[in-house]
């Protein structure tokens, strides 16, 4: 097992404290089945893979991939970029990467930047080779507004309101907890490169089998005439433990 990155330099009043879902992603990405898949999918001497993590929060996942690029991809040349709707997360992520250097005598991936933005909206089309998303997946009545106007209005509210708003951003998923994830999946064809792969965390309440079937049958994207047909496989789960939150990692690719 690879060591878990440290986040001891952070406080978690405004960003997501790494939890079971975070660790499931780390375990899955470094599992023998996925390191084998990724090494074969991005063989040596092909252009450097571009990894985008959406909603990086503390930055623990991207920091993990950056410092263990060689173990996970069997190549050290990786480009990594993160986005988050919260500027607190955008500030935290690069510091976590800095606090977690690669093992001695081992070269790391190249962490580029963190951007404050919605999903992958500023990415050029077809650039992303590996997309990672631990979304706000808890079913809720509403999803908070995230325009720049909403964020600047925050300064007029109490610090309790502000903290509640940022907390809500990390979990509130709307109907079936799929509100934000559906928006990502609708745009997936434009975001991913021809060799692109998505690793997506879903919980049982997201009805993941239905989501997978919809992806396989062209139910996302396109203009009503049918979107792309994706390959979908469940590649990690924490379903063996008791509790209402049963989590899975789903790999989606062309």
């Amino acid at each position: 097992m690879l060591p878990t990155p440290t986040t001891a330099h952070l406080t978690f009043t405004h960003i997501y404290n790494p939890s079971e879902d975070t660790y499931l992603l780390l375990d899955t990405l470094s599992s023998p089945s996925q390191t084998t898949f990724l090494s074969q999918h991005f063989p040596p001497h092909t252009p450097t893979p571009f990894v985008l993590e959406i909603g990086s929060g503390s930055g623990i996942i991207t920091s993990f991939i950056t410092s263990h690029a060689l173990t996970i991809f069997s190549r050290p040349d990786l480009l990594l970029l993160t986005t988050d709707i919260s500027h607190h997360a955008s500030l935290a992520t690069p510091t976590t990467v800095l606090h977690n250097p690669p093992p001695p005598n081992c070269s790391s991936g190249l962490f580029l930047d963190s951007l404050t933005t919605d999903l992958s909206s500023p990415m050029r089309r077809g650039v992303v080779d590996v997309l990672i998303f631990n979304p706000p997946y808890v079913p809720t009545d509403t999803i908070p507004f995230t325009s720049s106007t909403a964020f600047s209005n925050l300064s007029t509210r109490s610090s309790f309101d502000e903290e509640s708003y940022y907390l809500e951003l990390t979990y509130a998923g709307g109907e079936d907890g799929m509100g934000t994830t559906n928006r990502l999946l609708e745009g997936l064809d434009e975001t991913l490169s021809p060799r692109g792969v998505l690793y997506l965390l879903l919980c049982a309440q997201n009805k993941p089998e239905q989501v997978a079937e919809r992806l396989r049958t062209g139910g996302y994207g396109g203009d009503g005439s049918g979107g792309p047909l994706w390959k979908v496989e469940k590649v990690g789960s924490s379903g063996l433990r008791a509790g209402w939150e049963v989590l899975g990692i789903w790999r989606v690719w062309r």
């Binding site: 252009p47 050290p76 040349d77 500030l91 190249l110 404050t116 933005t117 720049s148």
Partner: protein, 127 residues
């Protein structure tokens, strides 16, 4: 923000995505910093990244930040001199925009960069 990052992003406004003038975003009023210790030169990574780069856009971005020495043609292959590669690495990876703006050539919206982090959040009417 690194110059290299700018080569992978365009205006987040949906209606700008199909416009060729939404890429690259144009740097304006930028303050730069250089961090030679941050990411040590890696020939392997640079040779893997070069094929991915939109070279003309990169020259435009570099020019806007005051760097005009990038060659007109993209250097490619194993024959490229080490000195050229090291200078490109310095520009792409070790030079940061600390504060400034990025402006879309299509919609003219200005996105701010503060503490090295670009903000692409849009006001309600553009979301």
């Amino acid at each position: 923000m690194k110059l290299l990052t700018a080569n992978f992003i365009s205006c987040p406004v949906r209606t700008c995505k199909t416009s060729p003038t939404s890429f690259p975003l144009h740097f304006k009023d930028c303050e730069l910093a250089c961090d030679p210790d941050g990411n040590p030169y890696s020939r392997e990574t640079l040779l893997g990244v070069l094929p991915r780069l939109e070279w003309d856009a990169l020259r435009t971005s570099a020019g806007e930040l005051g760097f005009t020495e990038l060659p007109v043609e993209k250097p490619e292959g194993e024959v490229v001199g080490e000195e050229v590669l090291r200078r490109i690495w310095e520009l792409l990876v070790q030079t940061h925009v600390v504060t400034g703006k990025m402006v879309c050539g299509n919609c003219a919206y200005e996105f701010g960069i503060q503490s090295g982090i670009a903000n692409f959040l849009l006001p309600g009417h553009l979301v």
